[in-house]
């Protein structure tokens, strides 16, 4: 399920060194800043799927919302086909949503319950394409439902969201996103609320949209196995920072960053041998720690309090992004030249 590697043209959608801070109230009179996303750089290309993997609170959803234009970045820039996206009073222009669509996690909360499927799908057609003609609307709605395999289409079009199962609803949500004919689809945990037996249908549908329509896809998930199934490249986030990225097989089979390793090893894997499993469970009973507060993140590498390999430099200086070839990179002092070590050597 891998698209042929492409030469790197201009990405359809790119985040360049994007940072998002939220001001929050921290008790009476005092304010604090949540550093939700820090220096995120991400390219989405036509016909390719990038998986953004991380735990809750790692900034995945914030980044998706930044890319979707729901938030304005605190610094850095979002570029659509090379052109920086302008925001006015925290909003992008409507035209932006014509190219970039976001699918939410919860198919139960993202459809208007008072309207039939037909209405939910007609809205984007009217708003973004100015379709007014009834016959034309009916034809397009039918096409959309057929593309997401909700057939017979005319029957589904007249149902209310509550008459549909979770999987069917999520397909309507995808159909609605497709109605605007976007170039980029951002999926924020699009399958995590669905029943296990129907998740694959959804992944296969997303895969088809990528191959047949050449959509650029961002697949956000905490499930590494499903990321491996669908995507081409993986980017791992931890505590608001991107810490590793590269082609999926290499990243998952041989993680560079200790956090990626922890994440992969913690994922359920029935194929794991009995001995590996026992060793893993024995080791896992120790405290593996938890992600830090984003209001007051640790200095240096944000993973260092949990990292078994932490050195002095990790506690004081944030590791730079190190490219290790074959499209792989990481942000870890194990793979970067330690500035303190070099200075000692030269002395």
């Amino acid at each position: 399920m891998t698209a042929p590697p492409t030469t790197r043209p201009t990405p359809v959608l790119a985040a360049v060194d994007v940072t998002k801070h939220f001001a929050v109230r921290a008790g009476v009179g005092s304010r604090a800043v949540v550093r939700a996303v820090e220096g995120a750089t991400l390219d989405l290309h036509r016909g390719r799927v990038v998986a953004l993997v991380g735990e809750s609170g790692s900034g995945k959803t914030t980044l998706a919302r930044l890319l979707a234009g729901f938030y304005a970045p605190t610094s850095g820039e979002i570029a659509l086909e090379g052109a920086p996206v302008r925001q006015r009073r925290g909003r992008v222009e409507r035209g932006y949503h014509k190219d970039v669509q976001l699918i939410f996690q919860d198919p139960f909360g993202s459809l208007n319950p008072l309207h039939r499927v037909r209405h939910n799908l007609e809205r984007p057609l009217r708003l973004h394409h100015g379709v007014r003609d009834r016959a034309e609307l009916d034809r397009r709605v039918g096409e959309l439902l057929e593309r997401v395999a909700l057939t017979p289409a005319d029957q589904f079009a007249d149902k209310f969201p509550h008459e549909l199962s979770g999987g069917q609803r999520q397909r309507v949500v995808i159909a609605r996103a497709l109605a605007v004919e976007p170039k980029v689809l951002l999926g924020d945990e699009p399958i995590s609320m669905l029943d296990v037996s129907i998740r694959l249908e959804m992944l296969n549908l997303l895969d088809r949209l990528r191959t047949e329509d050449g959509l650029a896809l961002l697949y956000i998930t905490h499930d590494i196995a499903s990321a491996r199934y669908l995507c081409d490249d993986v980017v791992v986030m931890y505590a608001g920072e991107m810490i590793e990225g590269g082609p999926k097989e290499q990243v998952i089979a041989d993680p560079l960053h200790p956090y990626t390793r922890l994440l992969v090893e913690s994922s359920p894997d029935p194929a794991r041998g009995a001995r590996d499993r026992e060793a893993l469970f024995d080791a896992g009973a120790d405290d593996l720690g938890e992600p830090p507060s984003l209001i007051d993140p640790p200095p240096g590498c944000r993973f260092h309090p949990r990292c078994p390999f932490a050195k002095d430099v990790c506690r004081t200086q944030a590791p730079p992004r190190t490219d290790v070839g074959e499209g792989r990179w990481t942000r870890c002092w194990l793979h970067a030249t330690d500035p303190t070590a070099t200075s000692q050597e030269t002395e």
Partner: protein, 347 residues
Amino acid sequence: MTPPAPHDDLLRVTGLTVDYVTDGDPVRACADVTFTLRRGEILGVAGESGSGKSTLVTALSRLQRPPAVTTAGSIEFRPRGGDAVDLVTASPRTLRSLRWTSVSIVLQSAMDALNPVMRLGAQFADALRTHDRTLSRQAAWDRAAELLTTVGISGDRVRSYPHELSGGMRQRAGIALALACGPDLVVMDEPTTAVDVVMQRMILAQVLCLRRELGFAVVFVTHDLSLLLELADRIAVMYAGRVVELGTAQELYEAPRHPYTRGLRDSFPPLRAPLRRLTGIPGSPPDLRRPPSGCPFHPRCAERFAGCDTHLPDLGPAGGDGHLVACRLYDAAPGRDRTVTLEGSAR
């Protein structure tokens, strides 16, 4: 994973049937559920939404509320050093004497089940001193600190309020609380669904470690079969309120018999094995208000044949190690007759 002592049944569930009594026809959420749980064993119950797994949990723990009514069957429970009790007919007084000392429960939202205005220690002391009236306040607090340590939370956290702990820590505190009175059986209903994978791995490792130490048995209910395959000794797969397959985790992974189990197993993309296109299971789980005739899985089953839509298959042996399956494909399996085998143990 230590094998449980053979032929020492802690729990025998026979023909358990739970209906939701509504204005119209009753909805049968659990139908004729039969299984045994050995002392110290971890029995996984896997199922999708609407499979009746949560109904089973509330019926086992007698926590169900109207409109749920247990209409048939028995739950024979043999606590250590006590007489067998049928939990279905047990009086409130008997139940009260069993609860927490013999049977305890961890819910998905255990992290929210802690009293927000009481320190952890006070909540532990409350439970401990209710069941052991001779315990002094100081001794109870000391024991609370010990219990927290067993789940990897520092003992001085007894002074903390729940909001001062992370979600994962609260969930672990909920598990420690469930173990406070040394129960024989701990029922866990999706205890790790609300936490991240690293925390999940840690919680499971601790449960396994404590089980080895304390010897309690676990009924572990989840939608995540891939998790159970790594954790449980035996697994019961539920579909539309029925147990459709029951066997050791290894058998169920390597040679699932029921087409649904096979489909479910193949719905989890592999973490390391070569990728192939997976299809999941077509269709969606049935509406229990209008269950399909015959085998409830037949509308989605690729291997159905004449009669599947009219004959309801029994749960019967299907070769090797007491493996049980409810599917007409195995009607000719050796050792199979029309009566349902209760023991299911051929160790």
